[in-house]
């Protein structure tokens, strides 16, 4: 297994409160892994540390051989890590198409001066960005909404657009923060198929945070369990389901065996 992302002894403090402590993670190329844990366990903090929203207090994060700690979020995104958000954060007043086009930012070569005079690769690159965006929207069955304002999309489609936008950055690693939040069982079932399809179609490594056990257990090859900022268990979904400490965290007392 070729490692693509490696977190070594990552610790993060908020004003003296430890949100994540000595967290280690090794993610292989093309792996599909999940992080679970109770609310406030530090799952989203891990995503924020990987993507540069927070800077780790201690430890190192390396992605395909590059150290990420201390890098700006846009640099990290340009390196090939994309994410979605727990509470949808689209560019609401912009069109569906523009939401996706914006995510091409770091891949565009022409500079603002060339844009001003429409010189250099401007037209060719803009055409390519447009083509790729429409292609992505078509793949995700959002092409009928290209000219629609993002905020007018139904909830489920907004979630999908967020994924489309993340894919537009051409990531190697995709971080999904509670992709099934607010979805009904039918929608979750479709999302499950969708994640598996995307994993194959785009040759992605995926790390997801989720509370919906049905989704996590059926999609992830490997699970990590976080509680109070510490990793308490790691293994296949089958192993995690039987893990005593995990059961304790989720159910309080461990059932007598």
């Amino acid at each position: 297994m070729m490692p693509i992302l490696q977190l070594v002894d990552i610790t993060h403090n908020f004003d003296g409160i430890t949100a994540v402590a000595d967290f280690n993670l090794l993610l292989g190329q093309n792996e599909l892994a999940g992080i679970i844990g109770p609310n406030g366990a530090g799952k989203t903090t891990v995503f924020n540390l990987i993507t540069g929203v927070y800077r780790a207090t201690a430890g190192s994060i390396s992605f395909a051989g590059t150290e990420l700690v201390g890098q700006a979020p846009d640099r990290i995104a340009a390196l090939g890590i994309a994410r979605t958000f727990q509470n949808i954060r689209l560019f609401k007043e912009l069109t569906v198409l523009d939401n996706v086009r914006i995510a091409h930012y770091s891949k565009v070569q022409y500079n603002p001066l060339e844009a001003l005079f429409r010189l250099g690769g401007f037209h060719a690159e803009e055409e390519a960005v447009l083509e790729h965006s429409l292609e992505l929207l078509a793949l995700l069955k959002l092409d009928g909404y290209a000219a629609e304002t993002a905020k007018n999309l139904p909830y489920g489609l907004q979630r999908r657009l967020e994924i489309a936008r993340a894919l537009a950055t051409r990531p190697q690693l995709l971080l999904l923060d509670e992709p099934a939040a607010g979805m009904n069982p039918q929608e979750v079932a479709r999302l499950l198929e969708f994640i598996l399809w995307m994993h194959k179609e785009f040759n992605l490594t995926i790390l997801l945070i989720e509370h919906q056990m049905h989704l996590v257990m059926n999609v992830c090859e490997r699970l990590l369990v976080l509680d109070f900022g510490e990793m308490i268990a790691e293994g296949t979904p089958q192993e995690i389901q039987k893990n005593r400490r995990v059961l304790e965290v989720y159910l309080g007392e461990a059932p007598a065996s």
Partner: protein
């Protein structure tokens, strides 16, 4: 309809006005030359038209930062002052009188560049943090410029600066208005411009989608300051007299009102806002000081009932470049899931 056919159809739709606009602008430019040359317009009306033009430049440039990018800069008159004083100093003190008219465009550009340079100085530290910080810094900046000029004798201090010839003419104003609109349009409808818009929508998400937000913010602010400086140079050579009080907080507020009256994030809105506001101010001139009661009231009503301005985030189709206009006509119905 097949995909190609549909594209062709949309191309035709998208083309409306596409070739007409340059012809129209060239025509208007010739008209402005004729008016200037043969005095076809009442001098007072001509003056108002030139004020409108200068205000359009100020409005569209502030709109870039406040409307398109969603930041809140309140010191636009300060950058205007930098441009006005730089250009005036050059034409009056540096350049020989008989050559001033020839070098006028260069003096105006120098004023713009000086304002842009100062804009960079303000932007770099201001954008290190987020939110209201820019408002406070630009507010302070406006005051600093005013008191700095008041204390520089070479610029006339509080008495003001004069000696400029009336070098600003209708064709020049027209040229600079079109140029500023063209520059901002071409920047907005580009990778950089999409970055600007995404910062307004959600700055954190924007950075996570690979937009270099720091760079985008600083560059947008510099471009905005540049055109404020250009407007300042034109203004100084129209009025032929400037003093520090010309560029106080009231002037900055005027520009803010024009942006929010016309419509944030819109070129058409900037033109509309500047025109309507300038004309209303002239019409209300007999009211004297009461104008200053009426205008804020107008602003309050506007904010309550049309918070995004008259055109608010919408654009006149002719101003939208071809590719983006086509994208706007993409099928809204076909290909949707039930």
């Amino acid at each position: 309809m097949g995909r190609n056919q549909e594209r062709e159809h949309r191309t035709k739709q998208g083309l409306a006005g596409h070739r007409l606009l340059p012809v129209l602008l060239a025509g208007l430019f010739i008209v402005s030359l004729a008016i200037d040359r043969f005095e076809l317009l009442d001098p007072y009306v001509q003056l108002i038209v030139m004020y409108i033009g200068i205000n359009i430049i100020l409005t569209v440039s502030l709109n870039l930062v406040n409307g398109y990018m969603g930041e809140f800069s309140v010191g636009h008159a300060g950058f205007m002052a930098v441009g006005a004083y730089t250009a005036s100093f050059l034409t009056v003190k540096v350049l020989p009188v008989h050559l001033a008219a020839w070098f006028f465009p260069l003096a105006v550009i120098a004023g713009g560049l000086a304002a842009a340079a100062i804009g960079l100085l303000v932007a770099v530290p201001s954008f290190k943090t987020r939110g209201d910080y820019l408002a406070i810094v630009t507010l302070a900046f406006g005051m600093i410029v005013k008191s700095a000029v008041e204390n520089i004798d070479a610029l006339g201090g509080p008495r003001g600066f004069l000696g400029m010839e009336k070098l600003t003419s209708l064709p020049w104003v027209f040229f600079w208005v079109v140029f500023s609109l063209w520059v901002i349009r071409n920047l907005i409808y580009s990778n950089f411009g999409r970055g600007v818009l995404s910062i307004r929508e959600d700055e954190a998400a924007s950075a996570l989608m690979s937009v270099n937000t720091k760079q985008v913010k600083v560059l947008a602010f510099a471009v905005s300051s540049f055109f404020a400086g250009i407007a300042g140079g034109l203004f100084a050579h129209l009025l032929q007299f400037i003093n520090p009080r010309t560029f106080d907080i009231i002037k900055s507020t005027d520009i803010l009102i024009m942006v929010y009256l016309g419509g944030i994030g819109s070129l058409a809105g900037s033109i509309l806002g500047a025109t309507v506001y300038t004309v209303i101010l002239e019409v209300l001139r007999p009211l004297g000081v009461w104008r200053m009661v009426f205008m804020p009231l107008l602003l309050v009503i506007l904010m309550l009932y049309r918070p995004k301005g008259i055109t608010g985030l919408r654009e006149f189709p002719w101003f939208i470049p071809f590719r983006d206009r086509l994208a706007g006509t993409l099928s809204r119905e076909e290909g949707r899931e039930p």
